[in-house]
């Protein structure tokens, strides 16, 4: 294995060893997605039983929204929490005096976020299929493109959170759990962008997630793939990811100027 790959694997091994020895951490990964699925699944079932087939379709859209939004949420938290683990264990100083380059650290955090997301979301998807006969995979191969876009969105949001932690210290760590929830109302997860007040719609359309969910709804309702929405989602993700990478690089350098890397957990 080349040096770069070994360093990335070293960081991954650190987190995999942590999960291997801590079943509560593993359980926690699947806990919230499964809970969300149960709450919204039973709600949709109840409404469908009262109002008939139109509501059954709406229930499907709701469950699809819940499951796909969890992909973004878990990707973002998986990235940010893996970084926070280093602060909590007072290990960040050791890492930053090793030959690990910042892009390698980011790569390791991205791979860990994918693993954490899979462990968290797959049980919820299987549960939706078992309890409510809702098969997310029936969306077909386009589902992979939805997943990729939502994961990338999770990563750039997490990169922004990590940048704020580098800037403001561990005081900013609560953002790791809360920031993406704050974006939910503008992400068209459960309703179309057209429902939002007109002044808010440009904000919603600047988020890749809105285009993913608009595309998902169109797919469920008409069976058609809305390539335009997918193109917008990929394009916006590229722009946001570049902005977040620039912010991270700037804050990492600023932390080295301020001497914050040794005292970031305080």
């Amino acid at each position: 294995m080349r040096g770069c790959a070994r360093r990335i694997w070293g960081m991954m091994y650190r987190h995999l060893a942590l999960y291997r020895g801590s079943w509560p951490r593993l359980l926690e990964l699947a806990y919230w997605p499964t809970l969300q699925m149960c709450i919204w699944g039973f709600t949709a079932s109840f409404l469908a039983s009262r109002t008939g087939s139109p509501m059954a379709l709406a229930g499907g859209l709701l469950l699809g929204g819940v499951l796909l939004w969890e992909v973004a949420l878990r990707s973002q938290m998986g990235f940010a929490v893996s970084f926070l683990e280093e602060i909590w264990s007072r290990n960040l100083g050791h890492i930053f005096v090793s030959p690990l380059r910042p892009p390698e650290l980011v790569a390791a955090l991205i791979i860990m976020s994918m693993i954490r997301m899979a462990i968290g979301v797959l049980p919820a998807i299987l549960l939706a299929w078992a309890l409510y006969a809702f098969n997310l995979f029936s969306l077909g191969p386009v589902l992979i493109l939805f997943f990729i876009n939502l994961m990338i969105m999770g990563w750039w949001v997490a990169l922004g959170v990590v940048s704020l932690i580098l800037r403001h210290g561990a005081g900013a760590e609560t953002l790791a759990w809360s920031v993406l929830f704050g974006v939910t109302p503008f992400s068209a997860v459960y309703y179309p962008v057209s429902v939002l007040p007109r002044v808010i719609q440009p904000l919603a359309l600047a988020l890749p997630s809105s285009h993913v969910f608009e595309g998902m709804r169109a797919m469920v309702q008409t069976g058609q793939i809305m390539w335009g929405h997918l193109a917008w989602a990929f394009g916006l993700n590229l722009v946001w990811l570049a902005a977040a990478a620039w912010l991270f690089a700037a804050q990492f350098h600023a932390a080295r100027v301020r001497g914050a890397l040794l005292s970031i957990g305080e």
Binding site: R6, R7, A17, S89, N91, V97, P99, R256, V257, G259
Partner: protein, 250 residues
Amino acid sequence: MQAIQVAHLTKSYGTTLAVDDLSFTVSVGATVGLLGGNGAGKTTTIAMLLGLLVPTSGQIHMLGHDMARDRFRALARMNFSSPYLALPSRLTVAENLRVYANLYDVKHTERRIEELAQELNLAEFLNRPAGQLSAGQKTRVALAKALINHPEVLLLDEPTASLDPDTGDEMRTLLERYRAQHRTTILLASHNMAEVERLCSDVLMLKKGRLVDQGSPEELLARYGRDDLEQVFLDIARARGAGADAGVRA
């Protein structure tokens, strides 16, 4: 051949000067002590040598690498230990060492861990979580992490702080043995004068970020007319004694 070359190193935070025009060199294989009171600039200097902190001005070359442009190649040949950092407490000692063996691209990881386990007496708790170790055991593990890549330069920030005298002595013995076997260059920041006298061939005395004196422990004792380095330290800290003025090198 110089392992560490520092020229006109300065670090300021606003109007506060943490390190003020510091210049020194450390030869390959030497053990040099960085002494000074709280706020003298020892930790700031070490942080700059490690690339954790960007100097306001000045140059650092570690093993010939310019730390401003080429720090990752230098970092692969160095290591660091400090009681103010920790290793992930839920990982076992062996898992922690594997993590750092990967980060430092160490060949034959398991063999290296076995070597360190023998040299530093870690074998009995190699599979125990790092968080369950005593302070002395943790210090040995931190040293094992710092030696995992056979560092050519080892930076130690108060390596025996908060250890009882017996454990501190054990740590110093380990360091002496390792240096003798591997000819590692060591820069040691410490408040423990006896430790510095025992381990260091040269001492850099810092005060308010400035290098105020330097020399071997014997030279400093002779210059200040004192019996031990603690008295020399107090003379410099309080700016008194025979050598306090004569010895000052701005």
